[in-house]
Symmetry: C2
Subunit: 275 residues, 2 copies
């Protein structure tokens, strides 16, 4: 089991009630629906359509940081243009997890007055849907991408100047994910450099980026105070949920995490980086 | 001007009095001697011999992290086996900057009762002098190397397990430098993950690793309290001095740093990583 929405929704569910928007094919295993339900994920926005569920496969270099897509089958996502359930439209924290940017914009356009909108993406959309992606970036508060995508988008090898260029495309907050090397946030309070939680065994990093941004948004939506005062901790929570994700295939190890185990790794990461 | 000893000595000189051991050829420019003197570096252990000064050249990939040696000319280092000045032998903090490990061991054997000995290295010695290097590693408190060297030495792609394997070779403290991605310390108090100081313009990272370990040892030798309680801050000071080094060629920008400017970047790095 994988998919950006699944990873992000489960990651966020450790912190907040989640409403999932997405589509699966008739081949989608029943037990996965049960898994969402165990995590109290609202499935009113999940459609099941005739056809095949989205499928992605790829391979990683031995460093587990660089990956190459082998196959992307959109399946039922090909023609998916959801009408959001009414109960979803007033959500204050909106995560547009990685999918075609036109679809992300379509979902966003149905939200009434979101307080904070984040969008994630992947190299595929930079390659085949860049104009849509640039339109989307203008509309979000926070744009999230990985280091190689940031370099591709800005044609700039230097991440700090890439960050500046991405801000010029619209978003007030930009987060560049660097896998095992952590992440950089650029926002109103300047930069924040976060470390990844160090893992002794990385089994499969697929979904780690989705888990990161899901955990981040889940924490952010429930934390008291302003987004600015919570965003750093939100990134650490995101990193921690991502660390659980990397320890197994699919959602196998993420679902075994608990809020208590997450808090433990959060504190550990604080200890590991304090000076 | 470059060379591990030059970079490390100047970096350490911002924190502590430095006694330099090394050799240069008759071609060594007089103005470089003046530079050492301006930094109050004791030159009793610096010999000038007939022949050419050590010379290294290399090229960096566009990411400024991966480099390839083009040329290493040992010159007068080929036959250098120094007898340490008496005034050097009681030094408490000894940095064996990157050079042939047999030479590092030869210097160390003349020290009376050092309190803390660190050794740096480079891929060249892993390739051509591994037995000597393994002998050296056994004798030092702290072994410092970069991530690709750690992978090469341990035949392990995973840095946390590489750290464990390096501890088994002898040293209580191991530091893996990761360039722009910071550094990892593994010691008595477990791990410490440090971030690199983020630079807007990297001109040349040559000597950054030497500056890092020089700054680290310089701070460590003057800070009150135990090595364990100071090592994290020492790594941050090392990172900061290395950041100045990267902003220019050779020692051009390192020498323009001041203790005040170093403290400023130290505080900034604390702000950038706090959560």
């Amino acid at each position: 089991m994988g998919g950006s929405a699944s990873h992000a929704a489960v990651a966020a569910s450790f912190f907040a009630p989640v409403k999932l928007v997405g589509v699966v094919g008739e081949d989608f295993p029943r037990k996965y629906i049960q898994l969402y339900k165990r995590h109290n994920i609202d499935l009113e926005g999940l459609q099941m359509l005739p056809g095949k569920t989205f499928h992605w496969s790829g391979e990683y270099e031995v460093n587990m940081n660089n990956r190459r897509t082998l196959l992307t089958e959109l399946g039922v996502f090909e023609t998916f243009t959801p009408t959001l359930p009414k109960s979803y439209q007033d959500s204050k924290f909106v995560l547009l997890a990685n999918i075609a940017p036109a679809l992300q914009s379509h979902v966003l356009s149905q939200m009434r007055r979101p307080k904070f909108v984040a969008a994630d993406t992947m190299d595929l959309w930079l390659n085949i849907a860049l104009p849509d992606l640039l339109k989307l970036i203008k509309q979000v508060d926070c744009f999230v991408l990985n280091d190689s995508e940031a370099r591709q988008l800005t044609q700039d090898d230097h991440l700090l100047s890439a960050l500046k260029k991405i801000h010029k495309l619209g978003p007030k907050y930009v987060i560049i994910k660097k896998g095992e090397h952590g992440a950089i946030l650029s926002g109103r309070n300047g930069l924040f450099l976060s470390s990844a939680y160090p893992l002794h065994h990385v089994v499969d990093p697929t979904g780690a980026g989705d888990s990161f941004v899901g955990g981040l948004m889940g924490y952010l939506s429930t934390a008291r105070g302003s987004v600015d005062s919570n965003l750093r901790r939100a990134m650490i929570y995101g990193s921690v949920v991502a660390s659980f994700c990397c320890e197994g295939f699919g959602l196998n190890t993420t679902v075994r995490a608990t809020r208590k185990a997450i808090e433990k790794r959060f504190k550990e990461l604080a200890r590991l980086t304090r000076f």
